[in-house]
C-alpha cells in the first residue's frame, strides 16, 4: 500500500538560479519518489545540485519546470513538516543558547509547550554529546559542535520528513559514527522519513535504504538504487556506485 502513495514525489524538476547576469541550472528534470519511512540518499559530486534539490523540497526554491508534491499537495512554501539541517555553519540562531536553539524550534513550530520542549531539547542535546555546552551560545562552539546542535534540532522536531544536507561532514570519525547510529536508532523508533545528502558512498549505504545518484553539474538522475545491510553486498554496492559515479575517471580504489 505504501508503495502506491509516495510521501514525496518529484516530477521532472528543473531548478535554476536567476541572477541579473547569469542563469545557472542546478538540476535538470530530476524525478524520484520518496516513500513513507524511506531513508533516501542524494549522492553526487560537488556542485551537482544536491543542496538545491533539498532546498526546493524544503519549499525555498520554486522549480522552473516540473513540480514537487508532499502527501499529494504541491510544495509552495517552507514549513515545520519538513525540517532542514543545512550544510552551512550559520544555521543556529546566535542569540539563543544551544538548548534554546532546540527548544525554540519545538515551540515556534507549535509542537509542544515550554516544559515539554525543554525536556525533549535536553534529551537530544545529550544525544549529540553537548550537555556541557547546553547553555553556551553558538559562537562559542567549534564547527562540528554547531553541526551537532543542528542535527539535534532536526531530530528533536520529529518531522514528517527530515532533510539533512551533509550533516556529518564536519565530524570526526567517531562522532560521525555515533551520530549515524543515533539517526538509525531514532528511525527505528519513529520511522520518520529522511532525505539525506552525503558525499560519502559508504555513509550512503549505511544510512540509506534507497540511493539517488546524480550526474555532475547540472544534476540529472543517473540511477536510483536500493541499499543493503549485508556487509558483503555493501562492499560490492560501494564498488558499483563508485564505478557509476566516476565511470570516466582513471581507475583507483576509493581510499578515504
Amino acid at each position: 500500500m505504501q508503495h502506491k502513495d509516495p510521501l514525496l514525489t518529484v516530477q521532472g524538476v528543473t531548478l535554476q538560479y536567476k541572477t541579473p547576469h547569469h542563469l545557472i541550472t542546478a538540476t535538470y528534470r530530476v524525478s524520484f519518489d520518496v516513500m513513507q519511512g524511506d531513508r533516501f540518499i542524494l549522492l553526487g559530486p560537488s556542485g551537482c545540485g544536491k543542496s538545491t534539490l533539498q532546498k526546493a523540497v524544503g519549499g525555498y526554491i520554486t522549480p522552473t519546470e516540473g513540480e514537487m508534491r508532499l502527501k499529494g499537495r504541491k510544495i509552495t512554501q517552507p514549513g515545520p513538516d519538513r525540517m532542514m539541517v543545512f550544510q552551512e555553519f550559520d544555521q543556529l540562531l546566535p542569540w539563543k543558547t544551544v538548548k534554546q536553539n532546540v527548544t525554540f524550534a519545538l515551540q515556534a513550530s507549535g509542537r509542544m509547550n515550554k516544559r515539554e520542549a525543554e525536556e525533549k531539547a535536553m534529551e537530544y542535546v545529550v544525544k549529540v554529546g553537548l550537555e556541557s555546552f547546553a547553555d553556551s551560545h553558538p559562537h562559542m562552539l567549534s564547527g562540528g559542535m554547531k553541526q551537532r546542535v543542528a542535527i539535534a534540532r532536526g531530530m528533536a522536531m520529529e518531522p514528517d520528513i527530515l532533510l539533512m544536507d551533509e550533516p556529518f561532514a564536519a565530524l570526526d570519525a567517531l562522532t560521525r559514527r555515533r551520530m549515524q547510529d543515533e539517526l538509525l536508532k531514532l528511525w527505528d523508533e519513529t520511522r520518520f522519513t529522511v532525505l539525506f545528502v552525503t558525499h560519502s558512498i559508504a555513509e550512503a549505504i549505511k544510512i540509506g535504504n534507497r540511493i539517488l545518484l546524480l550526474s555532475p553539474h547540472p544534476g540529472r538522475v543517473k540511477a536510483e538504487l536500493n541499499s543493503t545491510t549485508d556487509p558483503a553486498r555493501a562492499t560490492e554496492l560501494e564498488q558499483y556506485i563508485h564505478q557509476m559515479l566516476f565511470a570516466h575517471e582513471p581507475e583507483e580504489a576509493e581510499h578515504v
Binding site: 508503495h3 522552473t64 538509525l184 534507497r210 540511477a223 536510483e224 545491510t229
Partner: protein, 300 residues
Amino acid sequence: MSEAVAQLRSIRPEPDEPRPEIFHDEIDGDDLSVVEQRLSLFEILYREAWLRKLLILIVLAVIWEIYGRSLNNDLLFPTFSATIAAFFRAVMDGSLPAAAWSSGKVLLMGYGLGIALAATLTALAMASRIGTDFLETMTSMFNPLPAIALLPLALIWFGLGNASLIFVLVHSVTWAIALNTHSGFLNVSQTMKMVGRNYGLRGPRFIAKILIPAAFPSILTGLKIGWAFAWRTLIAAELVFGVSSGSGGLGWLIFENKNMLDIPKVFAGLLTVIIIGLVVENLIFRTIERLTIERWGVQH
C-alpha cells in the same frame, strides 16, 4: 511494540517487495531546454521596480491634490497642481535652479568632508580601543546637539557664509555615517577579517580592501541617512546662519517665500528637495547598490 521495534533495529530489513532500481542513460549536457512557466501581463509589469515606484508617486500626488483641494487653503497647504505650476514658474525664471545649485554645491562639500571625517574617526576607532571610546563618546555627546549649538564656534572659526554652513553640515553628516560604518565594521564576520589579516593587510589597506566592501550595506545606509540629514540641516541652517543677500540656496528661497506668504513657491522649493532626493536615491544609490551589493549577493 517497542520490543518489536528494538528487534528491528539491528536488522533494518529491506521492504517486503523490493522496489525496482532505476537507471538513466547519460544525457548530453549541452542541449538542456527548459519549458518555463509563463507570467501574466500583470506579473510582468509588477516586476518592474520603476513602474511600481511610479505608481506610488502617482498615488501620493493624487492624494496630495485631493487633500489640497478639500482643504482649500492655498496659504497653508497648496494643491499639487498649484505647487507644480509654481515649480515650473520658478524653474523658468531661474530662481529655483540657482537656489538648488547654490545649495547643492555647499551640500556636496559638506557631505564630502563629513564622509572624510567619519572615515577618519572610524579608522581610528578600528585601530585602537581608545579610538573606539573616543568615537563612542564624541558621537553620544555631539550627535544630539542641534546646529545652533555650533553657531558661536562656527562664527569664530569660519565667519559667515558657506564655510560655516559646511561646518554645520559636517556635524550633521559625520556622526550618522560614522555610527553606521563603525557598526558595519564590527559586524564583519570574524573569518573575513582573519582572511584579510592573513594577506598581510593592515591599517588603511585592511580597511579599504576588506572592511569597507564587507560592511558596504551598512555604510550605504549611513550614506543615505547622512545625505538626507545634510539636506535637512542645510535648509534649516541657511536660516540660522547668516545668508548674505543674493547668495541664498533652497533654504533661503523657502524662508523668503514663506515670509512673503508665497506658499506655492515654498512648496515648490520643498518639491525640489523631494525630487532631488528621489533622483539621488534612484539613480545614484540604486546604481551603486546594483553594482555592488546585488552582484555580491550579500543582501537577501
